[in-house]
């Protein structure tokens, strides 16, 4: 390890980047809050939230080559997707399931983040399926490099594949098989587990008999790292190190971000049967957004006025996204029939 690497990677982030991280977390939060409000108003059917997990998601996103490196997200990755380049308007269009909605043309429920252009892979709702697929994306990266189809130093090409999922989802066989490929083939892959202590109502100790998901990495011959998922710079550092290992051909990393979701599982859930209000309050006190704001303010990077301006700007963005989406038309019924099979190459 060089002396450089001993310095926290985040300490090299410029002020603009730090502010950009903060802005992304804030925008995601305000959008997320609005979605809950829209659901309460009966304007949308469904919402699933990233609230409380923004640091884990945004920290990770900023550590990769956003829009270039592959990302295979899960339904909770709102903040991560925003960081990659999905817009509040995109999200609003999904929430309202309007015509031409960016992720699927209104076919999928909201929260199935997707962009071919940004190498953000549009997943299913079925947990953990994306993990071995991400091994496939990482395999393709390595394949192209080894067979001369791509130059490992070419930063315009994907060089790492990042996937996220919840701690509960690591119980799936899919996860095991994906991690195993990553280990055996030393793939440029990062698996970020957002451990928010519950899978809907099921606590982590009914899910696994180990203290940390990261403890499972050893079984795949890859490093496992636990990080405070509510500390955005700590997450950035952990993921950045993994990214550098991947870029350098040193293989995969499992990162576990310990965090908490501040909302019920989704708009269909009621969490009072399985979590005490005290526990939820405790974690509200650890909210990653005020925490990062305080840090930025303490460092003199963000003034109270600027913070207020960000809030205003977020409100405007969310408002206008909502207004535009509400005004958009519904998909026309026959759109249900299109795009079942991809046309032959060169064909129509």
């Amino acid at each position: 390890m060089t002396t450089d690497a001993l310095v926290r990677a985040s300490s090299r982030l410029g002020e603009q980047t730090l502010l950009s991280i903060y802005w992304t977390m804030l925008l995601s939060r305000r959008l997320d809050e609005r979605a809950w409000a829209l659901h309460r108003q009966g304007k949308i059917h469904f919402h699933i939230s990233a609230m409380g997990q923004e640091a884990a998601q945004v920290g990770a996103a900023f550590a990769i080559q956003r829009g270039v490196d592959y990302v295979n997200p899960y339904y909770r990755d709102l903040a991560l997707s925003i960081a990659i380049g999905i817009t509040p308007f995109d999200i609003m269009m999904s929430l309202f399931a309007k015509q031409g909605e960016y992720s699927s043309g209104g076919r999928q429920m909201p929260a199935h983040f997707n962009s071919r252009r940004l190498n953000l892979v549009g997943g299913s709702s079925v947990v953990a399926t994306q993990v071995p697929q991400t091994a496939g994306l990482a395999f393709a990266i390595k394949y192209r490099q080894k067979t001369g189809l791509a130059d490992p130093a070419d930063a315009t090409q994907p060089r790492v594949a990042l996937t996220c999922l919840g701690e509960g989802s690591t119980s799936q066989g899919e996860w095991h098989e994906g991690m195993n490929w990553a280990g055996v083939h030393r793939l440029p892959m990062i698996c970020l587990v957002q451990n928010n202590a519950y899978a809907i109502s099921v606590p982590v100790d009914s899910q696994m008999a180990v203290a940390n998901v990261a403890d499972r990495a050893a079984g795949y011959g890859i490093p496992g790292v636990v990080v405070d998922g509510n500390d955005v710079l700590a997450v950035y550092d952990a993921v950045r190190e993994a990214v550098e290992r991947a870029y350098a051909g040193e293989g995969a990393t499992l990162i576990e971000a310990k965090t908490y979701r501040l909302t019920p599982h989704s708009s269909d859930d009621d969490d009072r049967s399985y979590r005490t209000r005290e526990e939820v309050e405790l974690w509200k006190g650890r909210d990653p957004i005020p925490r990062f704001r305080q840090y930025l303010q303490a460092e003199g990077i963000l003034s109270p006025e600027q913070a207020e301006a960000y809030e205003r700007r977020a409100r405007v963005e969310v408002d206008s996204a909502q207004a535009a989406a509400e005004a958009a038309p519904d998909p026309s019924p026959e759109e249900a029939l299109g795009a079942v099979y991809a046309p032959a190459e060169g064909g129509s």
Partner: protein, 333 residues
């Protein structure tokens, strides 16, 4: 008799079987304190405790496999799959294992296992919370596939499933969980502990002009459609609620079409290779001489899932009006 909902009937069925037989236990995701995401198991954790109502890890393959192992050991597991869409990871265990144990050991080991799963569309669930998966399993000898459409049948069939020495897939039309209500004898009444036999279809409505075969939510819609065409067109439709897809009640299927001469099969799954194909094939072979017209299927289109946006979803799902139109069309043939 009390009017209860479909999901309440299912809950009572489980409750009564757990009370009757200490070998019966429940497992699945969120079935414990949460009472299931649809609340099908509500109150059972409180009543039977954590030894008998077990929140599983988030892993359907092992929910089923642990159920198989426990069933081999002569317990009576009821495994809940949160949505039928999430049963696919367990396909190998269901198809290669549960279905074949009895045959492959020439009767030495049996698998008295119930797998419950809410299925079907029209609930704004999109591609992954709307699936109909019955056709896959109706192809697998060794399994039983049951789909109730009324609270009475749901409770009676579920109790039969728990008592059946074979693996039973019990698919519940979730759109009807609260929408469908019906009379069910009280548990403490003389008929309270009734069962409904697996393997028998039900004539939901008698009629002379044409036979409609359906199950789950589509059985309801078909009854509604039959009322519409009776009222508006004077067409007298017989509606057969299949209730069990495997083993199929062939006699009931054939008897109806032999009477009416025409057959329409309604299902919300994708058309191609959906369960209606088997009904059509059966009739086209064994009731050919009775046929007065083509055998029609009304089903979901061949697209990879029920889309989320309401306009798209509406387009996808058969409904009483599209069914009525198909009835008229066939009656006029």
């Amino acid at each position: 008799m009390t009017q209860i909902t479909l999901i309440e009937a299912i809950r009572r069925g489980m409750d009564e079987e757990m009370a009757r037989d200490p070998r019966v236990f429940l497992t699945g995701e969120d079935v414990g304190v949460r009472g299931g995401v649809f609340r099908a198991t509500q109150g059972l954790f409180e009543k039977y405790g954590p030894d008998r109502v077990i929140d599983s890890p988030l892993a359907e393959l092992s929910i089923v496999a642990v159920g198989i192992g426990a069933a081999l050991a002569e317990l009576r597991p009821i495994c809940e799959i949160q949505f039928a869409d999430f049963i696919h990871p367990a396909f190998n265990q269901i198809v290669s294992e549960a279905a074949r144990f009895y045959y492959r050991t020439s009767g030495a080991w049996r698998v008295p296992l119930v797998i419950r799963a809410p299925y079907g569309g029209g609930v704004s669930g999109g591609l992954y919370h709307s699936q109909s998966v019955e056709a896959f399993y109706a192809h697998v000898p060794g399994l039983k596939v049951v789909i109730p459409s009324t609270p009475y049948d749901a409770k009676g069939l579920l109790k039969s499933a728990v008592r059946d020495p074979n693996p039973v897939l019990f698919f519940e039309p979730k759109k009807g969980y609260r929408a469908i209500k019906g009379d069910v004898p009280d548990a403490d009444s003389p008929e309270g502990d009734y069962t409904v036999p697996i393997g028998q279809a039900r004539v939901a409505r008698e009629g002379r002009d044409l036979s409609v075969y359906a199950y789950g939510m589509m059985a309801h819609y078909s009854e509604k459609a039959a009322e519409i065409v009776a009222r508006e067109d004077g067409i007298d439709v017989e509606v057969i609620d299949l209730r069990t897809l495997l083993p199929l009640d062939k006699a009931a299927v054939l008897a109806s079409v032999r009477k009416t001469g025409k057959a329409l099969i309604v299902y919300e799954d994708n058309l191609t290779m959906g369960f209606g194909a088997e009904i059509a094939a059966l009739i086209a072979d064994e009731a050919f001489d009775s046929l007065d017209g083509p055998i029609r299927r009304l089903a979901g289109p061949d697209v990879p899932g029920v889309p989320y946006a309401h306009t798209l979803q509406e387009f996808y799902m058969p409904n009483p009006h599209t069914i009525a139109a198909a009835m008229r069309d066939l009656a006029a043939y």
